[in-house]
Symmetry: C2
Subunit: 259 residues, 2 copies
DNA sequence: GCTTGACCTTGCCCCTGGGGCAAGGTTCGA
DNA sequence: TCGAACCTTGCCCCAGGGGCAAGGTCAAGC
Protein backbone atom coordinates (compact mmCIF):
# COMPACT_ATOMS: atom_id res chain seq x y z
CA UNK A 1 0.00 0.00 0.00
CA UNK A 2 2.87 2.36 0.58
CA UNK A 3 3.44 2.77 -3.11
CA UNK A 4 -0.19 3.79 -3.58
CA UNK A 5 -0.42 6.42 -0.92
CA UNK A 6 2.93 8.10 -0.43
CA UNK A 7 5.16 7.38 -3.35
CA UNK A 8 6.39 10.49 -5.09
CA UNK A 9 7.44 8.15 -7.88
CA UNK A 10 7.20 9.44 -11.43
CA UNK A 11 3.84 9.16 -13.11
CA UNK A 12 1.63 9.44 -10.04
CA UNK A 13 1.41 13.20 -9.94
CA UNK A 14 0.93 14.73 -13.29
CA UNK A 15 -2.09 16.95 -13.25
CA UNK A 16 -1.35 20.64 -13.27
CA UNK A 17 -3.51 22.86 -11.11
CA UNK A 18 -5.51 23.96 -14.14
CA UNK A 19 -6.25 20.41 -15.22
CA UNK A 20 -7.23 19.42 -11.72
CA UNK A 21 -9.49 22.43 -11.35
CA UNK A 22 -11.06 21.74 -14.74
CA UNK A 23 -11.75 18.13 -13.84
CA UNK A 24 -13.42 19.04 -10.57
CA UNK A 25 -15.32 21.99 -12.02
CA UNK A 26 -13.64 24.51 -9.78
CA UNK A 27 -11.48 27.59 -10.37
CA UNK A 28 -7.72 27.57 -9.89
CA UNK A 29 -8.13 30.19 -7.24
CA UNK A 30 -10.49 27.96 -5.31
CA UNK A 31 -7.94 25.13 -5.34
CA UNK A 32 -5.29 27.41 -3.90
CA UNK A 33 -7.74 28.65 -1.28
CA UNK A 34 -8.44 25.05 -0.24
CA UNK A 35 -4.71 24.54 0.18
CA UNK A 36 -4.50 27.65 2.36
CA UNK A 37 -7.42 26.50 4.50
CA UNK A 38 -6.00 23.03 4.89
CA UNK A 39 -8.82 21.21 3.06
CA UNK A 40 -6.60 19.83 0.34
CA UNK A 41 -2.96 18.80 1.00
CA UNK A 42 -0.29 20.60 -0.99
CA UNK A 43 0.97 18.24 -3.70
CA UNK A 44 4.64 17.83 -4.65
CA UNK A 45 6.13 20.42 -7.01
CA UNK A 46 7.88 19.64 -10.26
CA UNK A 47 11.30 20.99 -11.24
CA UNK A 48 9.97 24.45 -12.04
CA UNK A 49 7.86 24.81 -8.93
CA UNK A 50 4.48 23.87 -10.46
CA UNK A 51 2.12 21.86 -8.31
CA UNK A 52 1.58 18.31 -9.62
CA UNK A 53 -1.54 16.46 -8.55
CA UNK A 54 -2.58 12.83 -8.49
CA UNK A 55 -5.94 11.07 -8.41
CA UNK A 56 -6.16 11.27 -4.63
CA UNK A 57 -6.29 15.05 -4.90
CA UNK A 58 -8.95 14.81 -7.56
CA UNK A 59 -11.27 12.66 -5.43
CA UNK A 60 -10.72 14.91 -2.45
CA UNK A 61 -11.40 18.01 -4.50
CA UNK A 62 -14.64 16.62 -5.92
CA UNK A 63 -15.78 15.83 -2.39
CA UNK A 64 -14.91 19.36 -1.31
CA UNK A 65 -16.75 20.93 -4.21
CA UNK A 66 -19.84 18.87 -3.49
CA UNK A 67 -19.87 19.97 0.13
CA UNK A 68 -19.19 23.59 -0.80
CA UNK A 69 -22.15 23.55 -3.18
CA UNK A 70 -24.24 22.24 -0.33
CA UNK A 71 -23.36 25.39 1.58
CA UNK A 72 -21.08 23.77 4.16
CA UNK A 73 -18.49 26.28 5.44
CA UNK A 74 -14.88 25.47 4.58
CA UNK A 75 -13.85 25.14 8.22
CA UNK A 76 -16.55 22.50 8.72
CA UNK A 77 -15.49 20.67 5.58
CA UNK A 78 -11.97 20.43 6.90
CA UNK A 79 -13.20 18.81 10.10
CA UNK A 80 -15.42 16.41 8.19
CA UNK A 81 -12.65 15.24 5.90
CA UNK A 82 -10.40 14.66 8.89
CA UNK A 83 -13.05 12.71 10.81
CA UNK A 84 -13.76 9.04 10.36
CA UNK A 85 -16.40 7.68 7.98
CA UNK A 86 -19.00 7.15 10.72
CA UNK A 87 -18.91 10.82 11.76
CA UNK A 88 -18.75 11.81 8.12
CA UNK A 89 -21.93 9.87 7.44
CA UNK A 90 -23.73 11.45 10.37
CA UNK A 91 -22.64 14.90 9.22
CA UNK A 92 -23.93 14.20 5.72
CA UNK A 93 -27.33 13.36 7.16
CA UNK A 94 -27.33 16.62 9.05
CA UNK A 95 -26.29 18.58 5.99
CA UNK A 96 -29.10 17.01 4.04
CA UNK A 97 -31.58 17.98 6.73
CA UNK A 98 -30.17 21.47 6.54
CA UNK A 99 -30.67 21.53 2.80
CA UNK A 100 -34.30 20.46 3.14
CA UNK A 101 -34.77 23.25 5.66
CA UNK A 102 -33.32 25.75 3.22
CA UNK A 103 -35.65 24.57 0.49
CA UNK A 104 -38.58 25.08 2.85
CA UNK A 105 -37.24 28.53 3.72
CA UNK A 106 -37.18 29.42 0.04
CA UNK A 107 -40.81 28.40 -0.27
CA UNK A 108 -41.67 30.68 2.63
CA UNK A 109 -39.69 33.56 1.17
CA UNK A 110 -41.46 33.12 -2.14
CA UNK A 111 -44.80 33.55 -0.44
CA UNK A 112 -43.66 36.75 1.22
CA UNK A 113 -42.17 38.02 -2.01
CA UNK A 114 -45.49 37.49 -3.73
CA UNK A 115 -47.09 39.78 -1.16
CA UNK A 116 -44.70 42.57 -2.09
CA UNK A 117 -46.72 42.96 -5.27
CA UNK A 118 -49.31 44.76 -3.23
CA UNK A 119 -51.31 44.29 -0.11
CA UNK A 120 -50.63 45.20 3.45
CA UNK A 121 -50.17 41.68 4.83
CA UNK A 122 -46.42 42.19 4.70
CA UNK A 123 -46.45 45.03 7.20
CA UNK A 124 -49.25 44.46 9.67
CA UNK A 125 -50.94 41.52 11.36
CA UNK A 126 -53.54 39.50 9.52
CA UNK A 127 -56.27 41.01 11.67
CA UNK A 128 -55.26 44.57 10.85
CA UNK A 129 -54.81 43.74 7.18
CA UNK A 130 -58.40 42.45 7.15
CA UNK A 131 -59.56 45.67 8.80
CA UNK A 132 -57.78 47.79 6.20
CA UNK A 133 -59.30 45.75 3.40
CA UNK A 134 -62.72 46.30 4.95
CA UNK A 135 -62.10 50.07 5.00
CA UNK A 136 -61.31 50.02 1.31
CA UNK A 137 -64.47 48.02 0.63
CA UNK A 138 -66.72 50.58 2.28
CA UNK A 139 -65.18 53.32 0.17
CA UNK A 140 -62.55 54.94 2.38
CA UNK A 141 -59.94 56.81 0.34
CA UNK A 142 -56.55 55.19 -0.24
CA UNK A 143 -54.88 58.13 1.47
CA UNK A 144 -56.72 57.55 4.71
CA UNK A 145 -56.24 53.78 4.55
CA UNK A 146 -52.49 54.26 4.22
CA UNK A 147 -52.56 56.66 7.10
CA UNK A 148 -54.33 54.05 9.22
CA UNK A 149 -51.90 51.42 8.10
CA UNK A 150 -48.86 53.46 9.11
CA UNK A 151 -50.45 54.15 12.46
CA UNK A 152 -51.02 50.44 13.04
CA UNK A 153 -47.42 49.73 12.18
CA UNK A 154 -46.32 52.13 14.86
CA UNK A 155 -48.74 50.64 17.35
CA UNK A 156 -47.58 47.13 16.61
CA UNK A 157 -43.97 48.15 16.96
CA UNK A 158 -44.50 49.92 20.28
CA UNK A 159 -47.07 47.67 21.94
CA UNK A 160 -48.12 44.57 19.99
CA UNK A 161 -50.70 43.24 22.51
CA UNK A 162 -52.44 46.57 22.94
CA UNK A 163 -52.53 46.92 19.17
CA UNK A 164 -54.25 43.55 18.92
CA UNK A 165 -56.92 44.56 21.46
CA UNK A 166 -57.55 47.86 19.71
CA UNK A 167 -57.75 46.17 16.35
CA UNK A 168 -60.40 43.76 17.65
CA UNK A 169 -62.36 46.75 18.90
CA UNK A 170 -62.10 48.49 15.55
CA UNK A 171 -63.20 45.40 13.65
CA UNK A 172 -66.28 45.25 15.86
CA UNK A 173 -67.03 48.97 15.45
CA UNK A 174 -66.81 48.86 11.67
CA UNK A 175 -69.71 46.42 11.66
CA UNK A 176 -71.97 49.25 12.88
CA UNK A 177 -73.44 51.25 9.93
CA UNK A 178 -73.47 54.42 12.00
CA UNK A 179 -69.71 54.11 12.68
CA UNK A 180 -69.07 53.43 8.98
CA UNK A 181 -70.91 56.61 8.02
CA UNK A 182 -68.96 58.56 10.59
CA UNK A 183 -65.70 57.14 9.30
CA UNK A 184 -66.49 58.10 5.72
CA UNK A 185 -67.29 61.64 6.81
CA UNK A 186 -63.96 61.86 8.60
CA UNK A 187 -62.33 60.61 5.41
CA UNK A 188 -64.01 63.37 3.42
CA UNK A 189 -63.12 65.97 6.05
CA UNK A 190 -59.39 65.27 5.80
CA UNK A 191 -58.55 68.35 3.77
CA UNK A 192 -61.39 70.62 4.75
CA UNK A 193 -60.39 73.92 6.25
CA UNK A 194 -60.25 73.87 10.06
CA UNK A 195 -62.90 76.62 9.93
CA UNK A 196 -65.36 74.57 7.91
CA UNK A 197 -68.87 74.94 9.37
CA UNK A 198 -69.59 71.21 9.03
CA UNK A 199 -66.92 70.26 11.58
CA UNK A 200 -68.85 71.04 14.80
CA UNK A 201 -71.68 68.78 13.72
CA UNK A 202 -69.25 65.96 12.93
CA UNK A 203 -67.72 66.37 16.38
CA UNK A 204 -71.16 66.18 17.98
CA UNK A 205 -72.05 62.99 16.07
CA UNK A 206 -68.78 61.46 17.16
CA UNK A 207 -69.51 62.24 20.78
CA UNK A 208 -73.01 60.76 20.49
CA UNK A 209 -71.67 57.55 18.95
CA UNK A 210 -69.16 57.00 21.73
CA UNK A 211 -71.75 57.85 24.34
CA UNK A 212 -74.01 55.11 22.98
CA UNK A 213 -71.40 52.37 23.26
CA UNK A 214 -71.45 49.51 25.64
CA UNK A 215 -69.27 50.62 28.53
CA UNK A 216 -67.97 47.14 29.21
CA UNK A 217 -66.28 47.08 25.82
CA UNK A 218 -64.67 50.37 26.66
CA UNK A 219 -63.37 49.14 29.99
CA UNK A 220 -61.53 46.20 28.52
CA UNK A 221 -59.34 48.28 26.27
CA UNK A 222 -55.92 48.97 27.71
CA UNK A 223 -55.75 52.73 28.07
CA UNK A 224 -52.06 53.53 27.85
CA UNK A 225 -51.93 57.33 27.74
CA UNK A 226 -48.73 57.40 25.69
CA UNK A 227 -50.40 55.33 23.00
CA UNK A 228 -53.51 57.50 22.96
CA UNK A 229 -51.41 60.60 22.67
CA UNK A 230 -49.46 59.06 19.86
CA UNK A 231 -52.63 58.34 17.91
CA UNK A 232 -54.04 61.79 18.54
CA UNK A 233 -50.84 63.62 17.73
CA UNK A 234 -50.35 61.71 14.53
CA UNK A 235 -53.86 62.50 13.38
CA UNK A 236 -53.55 66.18 14.26
CA UNK A 237 -50.21 66.48 12.49
CA UNK A 238 -51.77 65.13 9.30
CA UNK A 239 -54.98 67.11 9.00
CA UNK A 240 -55.86 70.50 10.46
CA UNK A 241 -59.54 69.65 10.13
CA UNK A 242 -59.09 66.48 12.20
CA UNK A 243 -57.22 68.51 14.78
CA UNK A 244 -60.18 70.88 14.95
CA UNK A 245 -62.64 68.03 15.48
CA UNK A 246 -60.44 66.70 18.19
CA UNK A 247 -60.44 69.97 20.08
CA UNK A 248 -64.22 70.33 19.61
CA UNK A 249 -64.91 66.88 21.07
CA UNK A 250 -62.17 66.81 23.69
CA UNK A 251 -63.68 64.04 25.75
CA UNK A 252 -63.50 61.32 23.12
CA UNK A 253 -59.78 61.37 22.62
CA UNK A 254 -58.63 57.83 22.14
CA UNK A 255 -61.36 56.47 19.89
CA UNK A 256 -62.10 58.98 17.19
CA UNK A 257 -62.79 57.07 13.99
CA UNK A 258 -59.59 57.84 12.18
CA UNK A 259 -57.41 56.73 15.03
CA UNK B 1 -49.69 65.54 2.02
CA UNK B 2 -46.68 67.46 3.24
CA UNK B 3 -47.57 66.75 6.81
CA UNK B 4 -47.66 63.02 6.13
CA UNK B 5 -44.33 62.70 4.38
CA UNK B 6 -41.91 65.27 5.76
CA UNK B 7 -43.21 66.66 8.98
CA UNK B 8 -40.75 66.26 11.81
CA UNK B 9 -43.65 67.20 14.08
CA UNK B 10 -43.78 65.60 17.51
CA UNK B 11 -45.34 62.17 17.70
CA UNK B 12 -44.55 60.95 14.22
CA UNK B 13 -41.06 59.67 14.92
CA UNK B 14 -40.83 57.79 18.13
CA UNK B 15 -39.33 54.42 17.52
CA UNK B 16 -35.76 53.99 18.64
CA UNK B 17 -33.45 52.02 16.42
CA UNK B 18 -33.78 48.99 18.69
CA UNK B 19 -37.57 49.03 18.57
CA UNK B 20 -37.57 49.46 14.83
CA UNK B 21 -35.11 46.62 14.36
CA UNK B 22 -37.14 44.41 16.68
CA UNK B 23 -40.35 45.10 14.81
CA UNK B 24 -38.81 44.30 11.45
CA UNK B 25 -36.91 41.27 12.75
CA UNK B 26 -33.51 42.70 11.91
CA UNK B 27 -30.40 43.59 13.91
CA UNK B 28 -29.53 47.16 14.85
CA UNK B 29 -26.32 46.77 12.89
CA UNK B 30 -28.26 45.85 9.78
CA UNK B 31 -30.40 48.99 10.10
CA UNK B 32 -27.30 51.16 10.26
CA UNK B 33 -25.81 49.31 7.31
CA UNK B 34 -28.95 50.05 5.31
CA UNK B 35 -28.57 53.72 6.16
CA UNK B 36 -24.96 53.64 4.98
CA UNK B 37 -25.91 51.95 1.72
CA UNK B 38 -28.73 54.37 1.09
CA UNK B 39 -31.54 51.80 1.31
CA UNK B 40 -33.25 53.45 4.24
CA UNK B 41 -33.27 57.25 4.73
CA UNK B 42 -31.71 58.57 7.93
CA UNK B 43 -34.50 59.61 10.30
CA UNK B 44 -34.44 62.78 12.39
CA UNK B 45 -32.49 62.69 15.66
CA UNK B 46 -33.90 63.55 19.06
CA UNK B 47 -32.25 66.00 21.49
CA UNK B 48 -29.59 63.50 22.52
CA UNK B 49 -28.68 62.38 19.03
CA UNK B 50 -30.72 59.15 18.96
CA UNK B 51 -32.37 58.22 15.70
CA UNK B 52 -36.17 58.42 15.87
CA UNK B 53 -38.18 56.42 13.35
CA UNK B 54 -41.73 56.57 12.08
CA UNK B 55 -44.01 54.08 10.38
CA UNK B 56 -42.67 54.92 6.93
CA UNK B 57 -39.28 53.59 8.00
CA UNK B 58 -40.89 50.46 9.36
CA UNK B 59 -42.65 49.65 6.09
CA UNK B 60 -39.51 50.33 4.12
CA UNK B 61 -37.43 48.17 6.45
CA UNK B 62 -39.82 45.23 6.23
CA UNK B 63 -39.63 45.47 2.44
CA UNK B 64 -35.85 45.53 2.60
CA UNK B 65 -35.68 42.55 4.91
CA UNK B 66 -37.96 40.56 2.67
CA UNK B 67 -35.80 41.25 -0.37
CA UNK B 68 -32.60 40.53 1.57
CA UNK B 69 -33.99 37.17 2.63
CA UNK B 70 -34.72 36.48 -1.00
CA UNK B 71 -31.01 36.91 -1.67
CA UNK B 72 -31.23 40.21 -3.55
CA UNK B 73 -27.97 42.21 -3.17
CA UNK B 74 -28.27 45.47 -1.28
CA UNK B 75 -27.25 47.58 -4.29
CA UNK B 76 -30.05 46.04 -6.33
CA UNK B 77 -32.55 46.60 -3.52
CA UNK B 78 -31.67 50.28 -3.49
CA UNK B 79 -32.39 50.54 -7.20
CA UNK B 80 -35.65 48.66 -6.85
CA UNK B 81 -36.94 50.86 -4.05
CA UNK B 82 -36.09 53.96 -6.09
CA UNK B 83 -37.78 52.65 -9.25
CA UNK B 84 -41.47 52.92 -10.01
CA UNK B 85 -43.98 50.22 -9.13
CA UNK B 86 -44.07 48.79 -12.66
CA UNK B 87 -40.34 48.11 -12.69
CA UNK B 88 -40.57 46.91 -9.12
CA UNK B 89 -43.17 44.37 -10.13
CA UNK B 90 -41.10 43.13 -13.04
CA UNK B 91 -38.09 42.76 -10.76
CA UNK B 92 -40.15 40.80 -8.25
CA UNK B 93 -41.10 38.36 -10.99
CA UNK B 94 -37.47 37.90 -11.87
CA UNK B 95 -36.46 37.42 -8.25
CA UNK B 96 -39.12 34.79 -7.89
CA UNK B 97 -37.82 32.97 -10.94
CA UNK B 98 -34.39 33.13 -9.37
CA UNK B 99 -35.72 31.64 -6.17
CA UNK B 100 -37.34 28.76 -8.04
CA UNK B 101 -34.01 28.11 -9.74
CA UNK B 102 -32.27 28.02 -6.42
CA UNK B 103 -34.77 25.52 -5.06
CA UNK B 104 -34.11 23.30 -8.07
CA UNK B 105 -30.38 23.66 -7.49
CA UNK B 106 -30.84 22.49 -3.91
CA UNK B 107 -32.65 19.40 -5.16
CA UNK B 108 -29.71 18.66 -7.46
CA UNK B 109 -27.17 19.19 -4.70
CA UNK B 110 -29.11 16.86 -2.41
CA UNK B 111 -28.79 14.09 -4.96
CA UNK B 112 -25.04 14.55 -5.17
CA UNK B 113 -24.72 14.72 -1.42
CA UNK B 114 -26.48 11.39 -1.12
CA UNK B 115 -23.75 9.87 -3.28
CA UNK B 116 -21.09 10.98 -0.81
CA UNK B 117 -22.24 8.15 1.41
CA UNK B 118 -20.37 5.78 -0.82
CA UNK B 119 -20.05 4.82 -4.43
CA UNK B 120 -17.79 6.07 -7.15
CA UNK B 121 -20.42 7.92 -9.17
CA UNK B 122 -19.24 11.16 -7.61
CA UNK B 123 -15.75 10.87 -9.02
CA UNK B 124 -15.96 9.15 -12.38
CA UNK B 125 -18.39 8.99 -15.29
CA UNK B 126 -21.43 6.78 -15.11
CA UNK B 127 -19.87 4.41 -17.62
CA UNK B 128 -16.70 3.95 -15.57
CA UNK B 129 -18.69 3.65 -12.34
CA UNK B 130 -20.62 0.79 -13.96
CA UNK B 131 -17.37 -0.86 -14.99
CA UNK B 132 -16.00 -0.60 -11.44
CA UNK B 133 -19.18 -2.10 -10.04
CA UNK B 134 -18.87 -4.96 -12.51
CA UNK B 135 -15.29 -5.58 -11.32
CA UNK B 136 -16.49 -5.86 -7.76
CA UNK B 137 -19.23 -8.27 -8.83
CA UNK B 138 -16.78 -10.67 -10.42
CA UNK B 139 -14.70 -10.72 -7.26
CA UNK B 140 -11.87 -8.25 -7.84
CA UNK B 141 -10.34 -7.04 -4.59
CA UNK B 142 -11.30 -3.61 -3.28
CA UNK B 143 -7.64 -2.57 -3.42
CA UNK B 144 -7.41 -3.19 -7.13
CA UNK B 145 -10.80 -1.59 -7.81
CA UNK B 146 -9.66 1.58 -6.05
CA UNK B 147 -6.47 1.50 -8.03
CA UNK B 148 -8.48 1.31 -11.26
CA UNK B 149 -10.74 4.08 -10.08
CA UNK B 150 -7.85 6.42 -9.35
CA UNK B 151 -6.38 5.69 -12.73
CA UNK B 152 -9.68 6.49 -14.44
CA UNK B 153 -9.90 9.74 -12.56
CA UNK B 154 -6.50 10.70 -13.91
CA UNK B 155 -7.46 9.65 -17.42
CA UNK B 156 -10.70 11.61 -17.32
CA UNK B 157 -8.87 14.66 -16.05
CA UNK B 158 -6.19 14.54 -18.72
CA UNK B 159 -8.20 13.38 -21.75
CA UNK B 160 -11.95 12.89 -21.19
CA UNK B 161 -12.81 11.68 -24.73
CA UNK B 162 -9.99 9.15 -24.84
CA UNK B 163 -11.03 7.94 -21.41
CA UNK B 164 -14.56 7.36 -22.70
CA UNK B 165 -13.30 5.33 -25.67
CA UNK B 166 -11.06 3.23 -23.47
CA UNK B 167 -13.84 2.68 -20.98
CA UNK B 168 -16.13 1.39 -23.73
CA UNK B 169 -13.38 -1.02 -24.76
CA UNK B 170 -12.96 -2.25 -21.19
CA UNK B 171 -16.67 -2.77 -20.72
CA UNK B 172 -16.68 -4.92 -23.86
CA UNK B 173 -13.61 -6.91 -22.75
CA UNK B 174 -15.02 -7.69 -19.32
CA UNK B 175 -17.88 -9.54 -21.01
CA UNK B 176 -15.34 -12.17 -22.15
CA UNK B 177 -14.89 -14.95 -19.54
CA UNK B 178 -11.27 -15.41 -20.55
CA UNK B 179 -10.51 -11.73 -19.87
CA UNK B 180 -12.30 -11.92 -16.52
CA UNK B 181 -10.15 -14.91 -15.51
CA UNK B 182 -7.04 -13.04 -16.57
CA UNK B 183 -8.11 -9.97 -14.61
CA UNK B 184 -8.65 -12.00 -11.43
CA UNK B 185 -5.22 -13.55 -11.78
CA UNK B 186 -3.66 -10.10 -12.10
CA UNK B 187 -5.57 -9.09 -8.99
CA UNK B 188 -4.13 -12.05 -7.10
CA UNK B 189 -0.65 -11.37 -8.46
CA UNK B 190 -0.56 -7.83 -7.05
CA UNK B 191 1.70 -8.64 -4.15
CA UNK B 192 3.50 -11.66 -5.46
CA UNK B 193 7.26 -11.43 -5.54
CA UNK B 194 8.59 -10.25 -8.91
CA UNK B 195 10.48 -13.56 -9.04
CA UNK B 196 7.36 -15.66 -8.65
CA UNK B 197 7.47 -18.57 -11.12
CA UNK B 198 3.80 -18.12 -12.09
CA UNK B 199 4.41 -14.70 -13.65
CA UNK B 200 5.85 -15.82 -16.99
CA UNK B 201 2.81 -17.96 -17.65
CA UNK B 202 0.49 -15.05 -16.82
CA UNK B 203 2.39 -12.85 -19.23
CA UNK B 204 2.06 -15.47 -21.95
CA UNK B 205 -1.72 -15.79 -21.41
CA UNK B 206 -2.02 -12.03 -21.60
CA UNK B 207 -0.17 -11.95 -24.91
CA UNK B 208 -2.38 -14.71 -26.28
CA UNK B 209 -5.56 -12.91 -25.27
CA UNK B 210 -4.54 -9.69 -27.02
CA UNK B 211 -3.40 -11.61 -30.08
CA UNK B 212 -6.84 -13.16 -30.39
CA UNK B 213 -8.69 -9.84 -30.40
CA UNK B 214 -10.44 -8.28 -33.32
CA UNK B 215 -7.92 -5.88 -34.80
CA UNK B 216 -10.54 -3.36 -35.87
CA UNK B 217 -11.46 -2.73 -32.24
CA UNK B 218 -7.81 -2.14 -31.51
CA UNK B 219 -7.43 0.33 -34.35
CA UNK B 220 -10.25 2.55 -33.17
CA UNK B 221 -8.68 3.25 -29.81
CA UNK B 222 -6.79 6.50 -29.67
CA UNK B 223 -3.19 5.56 -28.92
CA UNK B 224 -1.79 8.59 -27.19
CA UNK B 225 1.65 7.50 -26.05
CA UNK B 226 1.66 9.81 -23.02
CA UNK B 227 -1.53 8.24 -21.76
CA UNK B 228 -0.25 4.72 -22.29
CA UNK B 229 2.91 5.55 -20.44
CA UNK B 230 0.89 7.04 -17.61
CA UNK B 231 -1.11 3.84 -17.22
CA UNK B 232 1.97 1.64 -17.38
CA UNK B 233 4.04 3.77 -14.99
CA UNK B 234 1.26 3.96 -12.46
CA UNK B 235 0.80 0.19 -12.52
CA UNK B 236 4.51 -0.49 -12.21
CA UNK B 237 4.89 1.92 -9.34
CA UNK B 238 2.17 0.07 -7.42
CA UNK B 239 3.17 -3.54 -7.82
CA UNK B 240 6.60 -5.01 -8.56
CA UNK B 241 4.91 -8.17 -9.83
CA UNK B 242 2.87 -6.19 -12.35
CA UNK B 243 6.04 -4.44 -13.44
CA UNK B 244 7.61 -7.82 -14.02
CA UNK B 245 4.69 -9.03 -16.15
CA UNK B 246 4.92 -5.86 -18.13
CA UNK B 247 8.56 -6.40 -18.95
CA UNK B 248 7.89 -10.06 -19.80
CA UNK B 249 5.13 -9.18 -22.27
CA UNK B 250 6.56 -5.95 -23.62
CA UNK B 251 4.46 -5.83 -26.77
CA UNK B 252 1.08 -5.50 -25.07
CA UNK B 253 1.78 -2.31 -23.21
CA UNK B 254 -1.38 -0.26 -23.24
CA UNK B 255 -4.01 -2.90 -22.59
CA UNK B 256 -2.86 -5.14 -19.81
CA UNK B 257 -5.89 -6.04 -17.71
CA UNK B 258 -5.11 -3.90 -14.74
CA UNK B 259 -4.69 -0.75 -16.76
C1' DG C 1 -29.76 62.17 44.50
C1' DC C 2 -27.33 57.96 42.97
C1' DT C 3 -26.46 53.71 41.09
C1' DT C 4 -27.40 50.08 37.80
C1' DG C 5 -28.55 48.07 33.59
C1' DA C 6 -30.29 48.62 29.21
C1' DC C 7 -30.02 51.65 25.46
C1' DC C 8 -27.87 54.59 22.12
C1' DT C 9 -23.55 56.78 19.41
C1' DT C 10 -19.31 56.32 16.17
C1' DG C 11 -15.32 53.89 14.58
C1' DC C 12 -12.51 50.17 13.62
C1' DC C 13 -11.08 45.58 12.45
C1' DC C 14 -12.70 40.72 11.54
C1' DC C 15 -14.94 36.93 8.88
C1' DT C 16 -16.19 33.93 4.41
C1' DG C 17 -15.33 32.48 -0.28
C1' DG C 18 -13.32 33.75 -3.29
C1' DG C 19 -12.36 37.60 -7.89
C1' DG C 20 -9.04 40.48 -10.16
C1' DC C 21 -4.75 42.31 -11.16
C1' DA C 22 0.30 42.75 -11.14
C1' DA C 23 4.76 41.13 -12.12
C1' DG C 24 7.17 37.62 -13.04
C1' DG C 25 8.75 32.40 -14.73
C1' DT C 26 7.61 28.13 -17.86
C1' DT C 27 6.14 25.24 -21.51
C1' DC C 28 4.43 24.09 -25.90
C1' DG C 29 3.25 24.40 -30.71
C1' DA C 30 3.98 26.81 -35.19
C1' DT D 1 12.26 31.92 -31.89
C1' DC D 2 8.17 33.83 -30.66
C1' DG D 3 3.57 34.21 -28.78
C1' DA D 4 -0.06 32.05 -26.33
C1' DA D 5 -1.32 29.75 -22.61
C1' DC D 6 0.20 28.11 -18.47
C1' DC D 7 2.07 28.56 -13.81
C1' DT D 8 3.94 31.31 -9.37
C1' DT D 9 3.26 34.70 -5.28
C1' DG D 10 1.29 38.77 -3.33
C1' DC D 11 -1.88 42.24 -2.70
C1' DC D 12 -6.34 44.56 -2.48
C1' DC D 13 -11.46 44.22 -3.27
C1' DC D 14 -16.46 42.71 -2.65
C1' DA D 15 -21.05 41.76 0.37
C1' DG D 16 -23.32 41.63 4.65
C1' DG D 17 -22.70 42.09 8.38
C1' DG D 18 -20.40 40.54 13.73
C1' DG D 19 -17.86 42.07 17.61
C1' DC D 20 -15.56 45.18 20.42
C1' DA D 21 -14.12 49.66 22.25
C1' DA D 22 -15.05 53.92 24.31
C1' DG D 23 -18.12 56.72 25.24
C1' DG D 24 -23.24 59.33 26.11
C1' DT D 25 -28.26 58.63 27.84
C1' DC D 26 -32.44 57.08 30.03
C1' DA D 27 -35.57 54.91 33.40
C1' DA D 28 -36.24 52.33 37.69
C1' DG D 29 -35.42 51.46 42.31
C1' DC D 30 -33.35 52.70 46.62
Amino acid sequence: MRAMTDAPAGGRHLLTIGQLAGYAGVTIKAVRTYHDRGLLPEPPRDASGYRRYGAEHATQLVKIRTLVQAGVPLARIRELLAAGPERFGAAIDEIDRNLRERAAEIRRVRERIAQLHGGDRLFVSEQVAGYLTRLREIGVSERTVRFERDLWILLQAVAPEQAAAWAADKVAAIADPEFRALYLDYDAAFDWSPDDPRLPELAARTRRWYAGRDDSVEAELPADPAISRLAALTAEASSPAWARIHSLAASITPHSPAT
